[in-house]
């Protein structure tokens, strides 16, 4: 059903309004605009292309079914990102049930390791080109455990505070802080290692 709206130039809020009326073309435009961001967030959390694609699509399906719930308090992109993050968290919880290593158990593990990481002064990424840096960050992120990566993504990219992460993930604020600390230290070490490889 198209009502000759100019979808490519319309604002997200207009597209949402038209989508609510059943205009799939308007929704398609929203998908086109934000699909990479939604997929990227799923990919950052799951580190699995197939899962990320599936979850990103599931997020769009959920959004379509719940468009009436979008109040416009935040941007559409933020609203969509929250949906995909919640789906990823559900998926991680399901996977956690099938793993012997639980996310909670990692807490004990990090207590000892974080203090063993050396503190080296200076910026661990100094001198790296932007694209190279992005690629290296992505590479380093894959080396973090899902639990540490999850907290890091929620804090650094979603801008959630400790208590918000704790509530979302179902862990204590202390655990959030501990995991975040370990993830950052580990990332600093990994990035420095990558930088050294490049220099040699």
């Amino acid at each position: 059903m198209s009502l000759n709206h100019d979808y490519p130039t319309a604002a997200d809020e207009e597209l949402v309004g038209w989508s609510r009326l059943g205009e799939t073309e308007a929704f398609e435009e929203l998908v086109f605009r934000h699909r990479d961001k939604i997929y990227a967030r799923a990919m950052m959390m799951m580190r699995n292309e197939e899962e990320a694609l599936d979850l990103s699509q599931e997020a769009w399906v959920k959004a379509w079914q719940r468009l009436h719930q979008f109040q416009g308090d935040s941007s559409f992109a933020t609203w969509m990102t929250r949906i995909v993050i919640n789906l990823c968290l559900d998926q991680i919880r399901r996977q956690k049930k099938n793993r012997t290593e639980s996310i909670e158990q990692l807490e004990e593990e990090v207590g000892g390791v974080e203090s063993q990481l050396s503190i080296e002064p200076g910026n661990p990424t100094e001198g790296l080109e932007k694209d190279e840096l992005r690629r290296r960050i992505d590479e380093a992120m894959t080396k973090l455990t899902p639990a540490h990566r999850l907290v890091l993504v929620l804090h650094e990219y979603e801008g959630l505070e400790y208590k918000e992460i704790a509530k979302k993930v179902g862990i204590s604020i202390g655990t959030v802080m501990s995991r975040l600390f370990y993830a950052r230290r580990r990332l600093a070490t990994l990035l420095r290692g990558l930088q050294r490889e490049r220099d040699n």
Binding site: G122, P124, I137
Partner: protein
């Protein structure tokens, strides 16, 4: 250490923030940790990895459109205890009926015979029975 991180993230009360500031001014290791955490935080926020969907717009949308149009799956009958019980009882009752019919067949002579259960129904079964009085053996086949 975690308090230094909280300071980097701006999640400390002003009183604790001042305490951390004092620590940073006097402790070189604490200062280096603060610098490292700040550097990692900044680098992550400024250089979020760019990840793109490895599919064309048309392909992605066509897949999504199918999911949007797909009817919602019917809820599984897991809710009520009676539904669960019926799920197990129905086949058991069917099997009991078959056994009862077989047991009630008179076997006066030796030989094989067949009869149909539920004839006319798409799930009708044929029961073939072989009985030998001399050997004291009875065998049933259910097709």
């Amino acid at each position: 250490m975690l308090e230094i991180q909280s300071s980097v993230d701006g999640q400390l009360s002003s009183q604790r923030q001042e305490a951390v500031a004092r620590l940073l001014s006097s402790d070189m290791e604490a200062r280096q940790l603060h610098q490292q955490l700040t550097a990692v935080r900044e680098v992550l926020q400024r250089h979020e990895p760019v990840i793109r969907i490895p599919e064309t717009r048309e392909f992605y949308w066509s897949q999504l459109e199918r999911r949007l149009q797909a009817p919602k799956p019917a809820p599984a009958a897991t809710g009520s205890p009676s539904a669960l019980m019926w799920r197990w009882l129905a086949p058991m009752m069917g099997l009991s009926a078959v056994i009862a019919v077989i047991a009630l067949q008179p076997f006066t002579n030796s030989g094989a015979r067949s009869f149909q259960l539920g004839s006319g129904s798409p799930q009708a079964s044929t029961v073939t029975t072989f009985s030998s009085e001399a050997d004291g053996v009875t065998i049933h086949w259910i097709n």
